[in-house]
């Protein structure tokens, strides 16, 4: 196996291995795609944080004189059927879409890891109970579950995040459990037992870190689908209430009706969603490699 020696490469690059910034610069150069992903993600975060500064129009203000205007110098991304500026709505929508995407993925992944780790490591009746609940959750489509959840909880941002996070738990738990089951039988776990380590410490120190690679891949992949689930929820009236913009709803509202007559209503929110998903996937891949000592050389 041709491994690349990280430290010696650092030295060759003239970097001081202890200098934080130099190290970061080295990593950025080494993981070019990951850096691009990170830049995209930071760009969206910056967009969400300073939405009011970047926008030229109020995303909620209706202008009946300029309904369905094509992109122009005045309205960069055009206007929708109410004459609202699409550019402003996308910028403001990043707040909701990122909050839902990052929030529900983080929440779902964290709970999924806890359930999966407990289920795989403790096995026995804990495993049995968790797995049957997981089966039940997984037998329903993600959207239907989220629908029921928001219907019960009522539409608001935190509720949408929770509603989307809960159906994620079984997916993550399954992967983590399968990994835990395999890792549990590894001699290094047995060695930890023979040392006299407590089960909790073994699970956290020896098993959990070794499940990180699939988790990161899974979580970054799920991030995209959570943004889209939010879109569907909003479309069905159970997501973020009107008139607040979210990318998903902007896309789904206009897809059927305006795709021929005013394609900018579909294209630009679509690009925003794809870019956000693309960025997180690139970053996730690089993160997985950076966190794995075997990849680091």
């Amino acid at each position: 196996m041709a491994t690349i020696n990280f430290e010696s490469e650092l030295r060759r690059a003239g970097a001081n291995a202890t200098g934080g910034w130099r190290r970061l610069a080295f990593l950025a150069q080494r993981y070019m795609l990951g850096t691009i992903g990170l830049i995209i993600m930071l760009l969206f975060v910056w967009m969400a944080a300073s939405a009011d500064l970047i926008c030229r129009y109020d995303p909620l203000s209706v202008d009946s004189a300029h309904r369905l205007a094509a992109p122009s110098a005045l309205h960069w991304f055009g206007t929708d059927s109410f004459g609202r500026d699409v550019w402003s709505r996308i910028i403001h929508g990043s707040r909701i879409s990122l909050a839902v995407g990052i929030g529900s993925t983080t929440l779902g992944a964290t709970l999924g890891v806890i359930v999966g780790l407990a289920s795989g490591y403790l096995s026995g009746w804990v495993d049995l109970v968790f797995q049957r609940i997981t089966d039940m959750l997984q037998s329903l489509p993600l959207l239907v579950l989220a629908l029921v959840m928001t219907a019960a909880l009522g539409p608001s941002l935190p509720n949408v995040i929770v509603a989307i996070a809960i159906p994620l738990i079984p997916t993550v738990a399954r992967v983590i459990r399968a990994n835990t089951l395999a890792l549990r039988e590894q001699p290094f776990v047995e060695a930890a037992k023979s040392i006299g380590m407590s089960e909790m410490r073994i699970a956290l120190r020896h098993v959990l870190p070794n499940t990180m690679a699939p988790l990161i891949v899974l979580a970054t992949a799920q991030l995209g689908s959570t943004i889209l689930t939010e879109a569907s929820l909003s479309f069905l009236g159970l997501g973020i209430p009107e008139p607040y913009p979210s990318w998903g709803r902007m896309l789904s509202e206009s897809a059927a009706e305006y795709v021929r007559t005013a394609p900018w209503l579909v294209i630009f929110p679509g690009i925003a969603i794809s870019l956000a998903v693309f960025g997180t996937n690139l970053f996730g891949d690089a993160l997985r490699d950076i966190l794995d000592p075997r990849q680091r050389g």
């Binding site: 491994t3 590894q186 001699p187 290094f188 047995e190 060695a191 930890a192 037992k193 023979s194 040392i195 006299g196 380590m197 410490r201 020896h206 870190p209 070794n210 794995d292 000592p293 075997r294 680091r296 050389g297």
Partner: protein, 330 residues
Amino acid sequence: MTGQRPLLEVTDLVKHYAVRGGILRRQIGTVHAVDGVSFSLGAGETLGLVGESGCGKSTVARTVLRLVEPTSGAIRLNGQDIAPLSKAALRPHRRSMQIVFQDPFASLNPRMTAGDIVGEPLSVHGLAAGAKKQERVAELFQQVGLRPDQMKNFPHQFSGGQRQRICIARALSLGPSLIVCDEPVSALDVSIQAQVINLLIDLQRKQNFSYLFIAHDLAVVAHISHRVAVMYLGRIVEVSDKDELFANPRHPYTQALLASVPIADPKAQRLTPLIDGDVPSPINPPSGCAFHTRCRYAIDRCKTERPALKDAGAGHQVACWLNDGTGRAE
């Protein structure tokens, strides 16, 4: 060894695994992995445990360390039976016994540095921390022939032999009196095997701990052991001092095992193969002497009564009706 109390005394150790089947997961059979094994091991002594794959060697090793719970039997470590102890009560005893596994690639956590792996037992038992721990780990690295500057490397940066040295250093860190070696060199190149074996012998001379050394390679066992126990289908069939066993094997199975060792000399006189067929399933072991299905000397008694280990003189014990401590089978 001599009249002293042995370091480890295993009596009638049994490990059965349930075979379950059907929807209700009812027990439909039992794997007799270890079926009444007794042996003792003195301080500073090495007992080699040999036998074919699947004869229960590794289960004995894991059961002695309580990594696998024994079904019955006693495991006396320094006179105290550790078999019935709770996990918490067992913890202080874990310091006295450690294990080195067969696969040096899987026995090290790939996400921890070598130094952290070797130092971990010290932290778990609160024996050393900070600079003191680093110092001790560096010392352990030197003892097993690694450089202290390799402490910050990850397992994948080491070769197989070096990884096994890390495993040995981890086992040494708590200053154990017993190290169980479960085929520690089987996964290594022959040239590396010799290095690791000699390291193990060297360490034992300096620190006077005991080895329970499990292997299927008789040459390796002959090199490192003081005494050798031969296992067949979950039972010990013969125990003796190394030289006596190799010169004067009494159990037909031991004889067959020794006859099957390859000799690196094409002109050498081979003993005729004494055994054919496969090992019977441990789910349904043969009645009486487990070996009677393959034994060329088997008599009627072998099929019905199970022979116990009996003294055959000169510290030699054998479980065979024909021998009975009186003479050889041939």
